[in-house]
Subunit: 155 residues, 2 copies
Amino acid sequence: MEKISETYEAPASNALDACAVAQSVAHQLRRAHGQFTHRFLFYFSRVNLRPGEFTALALIAEVPGRKQSEIAAAMGVQRANFVSLTNVLEGRSLIERRNAPNDRRSHALYITPAGASLLADARKAEADFEADCLERLGGTRARDQFLVLLSRLFG
Amino acid sequence: MEKISETYEAPASNALDACAVAQSVAHQLRRAHGQFTHRFLFYFSRVNLRPGEFTALALIAEVPGRKQSEIAAAMGVQRANFVSLTNVLEGRSLIERRNAPNDRRSHALYITPAGASLLADARKAEADFEADCLERLGGTRARDQFLVLLSRLFG
DNA sequence: TATTGTTATACTCTATAACTATA
DNA sequence: TATAGTTATAGAGTATAACAATA
């Protein structure tokens, strides 16, 4: 994952456009991810959340009490790697592990008041990020179309 | 970067679809990249190339003699991180560093016969990968549309 | 036996700073 | 002074294997 700084300059334009690789989903997606990460961190620097942390927080808030492995599966993350993510969010007192009622192996995840508060700020950051995307894409129709195509490709 | 294995099972479906996060470019792109990497490595396991290596090889073949920093900039990679990438490709004798004619600081990059041969195989892998994408997206029109939107978003 | 959470490990990607040799 | 390549370092993401507690 990328670090945020003031000195780093994102590549100004896509230099692949002039080349034969421009028409390749493989080439373009590789490059797009770097840009995505950079832009996401810029918008979310206020709340200090990385993409995975934001998604986890949103999912935990949406359906309180789900198990770690359920959230991890929903995100497409290995449960082993979700442990450190959970530790970070719990260490910031944004979420809580509680004993699951019927299974003493499981931890049920709940958002805390502090977590809900930060999530509200994060949703504002997300709104700005999404507005940026909307403008670049050229309107809601193009945005919806992009999400449909992305979902077909990787859903 | 992900390792390739036979045991790993990619998440069967996008569990985010059922949630409010489905309509968010930020959530969906984070998840998409993991799927992309996994699928790319599956298709390119024959030639043992990772996404960045494939793009670098293609760019070096396209315009022989460009400097390392030029290729790195075209890819959106820091020149410091491009060094190890170059080392790997040169270590496999797929490319060659030569002295640049007018600047003794620079290395001009050239593809080797072995590199051209592997690149030909890689292009077959890419064709399969792109065909897979094409089928998922639902035709060339949707594919072109996706590339246009991706370019608007991160070009 | 299988599953949940966990730990440990390894590998990739990326950013940053500093060095060297040239320009 | 500035640039090209390099080295070193650090942080994040992910896969794998193995373990204890529990089902």
